[in-house]
């Protein structure tokens, strides 16, 4: 009897820990999945998948480690799985489109209108190794050591990639709005006006 009570108490404790982890890192997992290209309409399901894996592996998690490193790894795999499913879905849609030659489906037009921030466009063109470091550092605020742990690279490599990523992002932002970030270009524009 005492054993049953202890087991139930332990289960309640684990449930509390799991839900605390969920509450603390839900938004991080959400953004990470978006970063890995999971469509916004599917993120909710993908987040659920991530936390199902977390729940299953909860006993294996070492709390001394950064939970975000662990969650990031799981989210990356779930996103890869989601992309494969998407690709299969897209192939089916393409096949369906052949049935209606000459017709333009609404979906592509809708996709074209999806709102993309300037930074998203820049990151999409950036070397994935650089954009990943940029997102983790700038958007998620992970330290160089955490990023090194997540990506299994050296902290020096993180720093160098982050430097290159920031320079590339700055160049992209300059191209989009030359006056906004470069005093020299802004002065030149002012003189021209």
């Amino acid at each position: 009897m005492a054993g049953e009570v202890t087991a139930a108490a332990r289960q309640a404790e684990l449930r509390a820990e799991f839900e605390a982890l969920y509450a603390r890192h839900f938004a991080f997992v959400w953004r990470t999945l978006l970063h890995f290209g999971v469509p916004s309409a599917q993120v909710e399901d993908a987040v659920q998948d991530v936390f199902i894996v977390v729940h299953r592996r909860f006993d294996d998690w070492d709390p001394a480690r950064s939970p975000r490193s662990w969650l990031y790894g799981i989210a990356r795999r779930v996103a890869a799985d989601s992309r494969r499913t998407q690709e299969r879905h897209r192939r089916k849609l393409d096949a369906l489109a052949d049935v209606h030659p000459g017709s333009t489906r609404m979906d592509p037009r809708i996709r074209g209108r999806e709102r993309l921030t300037i930074l998203e466009r820049i990151l999409a063109k950036l070397d994935p190794a650089l954009s990943e470091v940029f997102v983790l550092a700038e958007i998620e605020g992970l330290s160089a050591k955490e990023i090194a742990g997540v990506l299994d690279i050296k902290p020096n490599t993180v720093s160098s990639r982050l430097r290159r990523a920031r320079a590339a992002v700055d160049r992209g932002l300059d191209r989009h709005d030359p006056g906004a970030s470069s005093p020299r270009l802004r002065d030149r524009r002012r003189r021209h006006d």
């Binding site: 139930a8 605390a20 959400w30 953004r31 309409a41 989601s82 609404m106 809708i110």
Partner: protein, 255 residues
């Protein structure tokens, strides 16, 4: 901070804001997780509790009473979830099932949220710029996506029932006509016919969603918002809402 880095920081803030989870998503997913998982993880194994675990949001006392409550809740949630999935699947799934024989994730209906969870807390910013105090994280444990896949199969087995009689087929044909229309005006024509013939049809949600998007494309935002709001009121947790908001950001302000 240089002007360049300020500019970059603004762009980062904009992107971060855009990727913020929508209101209520955290509670919805937690509800679906509770329904899916049923109870806490098995007690065997060694993980020691993380620091700052926090109090359980919905767990009552310890002991057998808790176990009984969990058991009852699981049964109740499962029954409620199956009912909702059965009803929802008829409307939401039918279209894409029929189109491609494999349900896309965009139209998966989440299980109902049984209890509201705390709203998004965004703790991460406080960890920004923390520097090197965090111990180096080991590479993430190897996870197999099959596990998530399996869970999805368990959770998402919301196959639409076969169409009943000819009505669903006719509805489908009209909705399909709207989807493949080469202009918003033609899409509206097909949707108008659907509304006339099947005012309370099985594919009413899809009709409203497509209607809102077509009107949005025409720049008729007032009508688009009215349609979107009608759908949001009728099905506040419909995945179609998010899709609409993504496709037509102008709707986001109103929903």
């Amino acid at each position: 901070m240089t002007e360049r880095s300020e500019h970059r920081a603004r762009a980062v803030a904009e992107l971060r804001d855009k990727r913020r989870p929508p209101s209520g998503a955290q509670a919805r997913v937690l509800g679906a997780l509770r329904a899916e998982l049923g109870g806490p993880p098995p007690p065997e194994g060694g993980g020691s509790p993380p620091e700052g675990g926090g109090a359980p949001p919905s767990v009552g006392g310890a002991g057998l009473g808790y176990a009984a409550k969990v058991g009852a809740a699981v049964l109740g949630l499962t029954a409620a979830g199956l009912t909702v999935l059965h009803l929802g699947a008829r409307g939401v799934r039918a279209l894409d099932e029929a189109r491609q024989g494999d349900a896309p994730a965009t139209l998966v209906i989440s299980a109902p949220a049984p209890a509201p969870a705390p709203e998004p807390e965004e703790h991460e910013p406080e960890e920004r710029g923390r520097g090197a105090e965090t111990p180096p994280a080991a590479p993430p444990a190897v996870e197999t996506v099959e596990s998530a896949d399996t869970a999805k199969r368990k959770r998402g087995s919301t196959k639409a029932p076969p169409a009943e009689g000819g009505q669903i087929g006719e509805e489908l044909a009209l909705i399909q006509r709207a989807r493949v229309a080469d202009s918003p005006a033609r899409a509206i024509d097909a949707l108008t016919e659907h509304a006339r013939r099947f005012p309370k049809g099985e594919l009413r949600d899809e009709r409203d969603a497509l209607w809102a998007l077509a009107r949005c494309e025409q720049g008729e935002l007032a009508d688009a918002r009215r349609r979107a709001s009608a759908l949001a009121e009728r099905r506040p947790s419909s995945p179609l809402l998010q899709r609409m908001m993504t496709a037509c950001p102008a709707l986001e302000l109103e929903l």
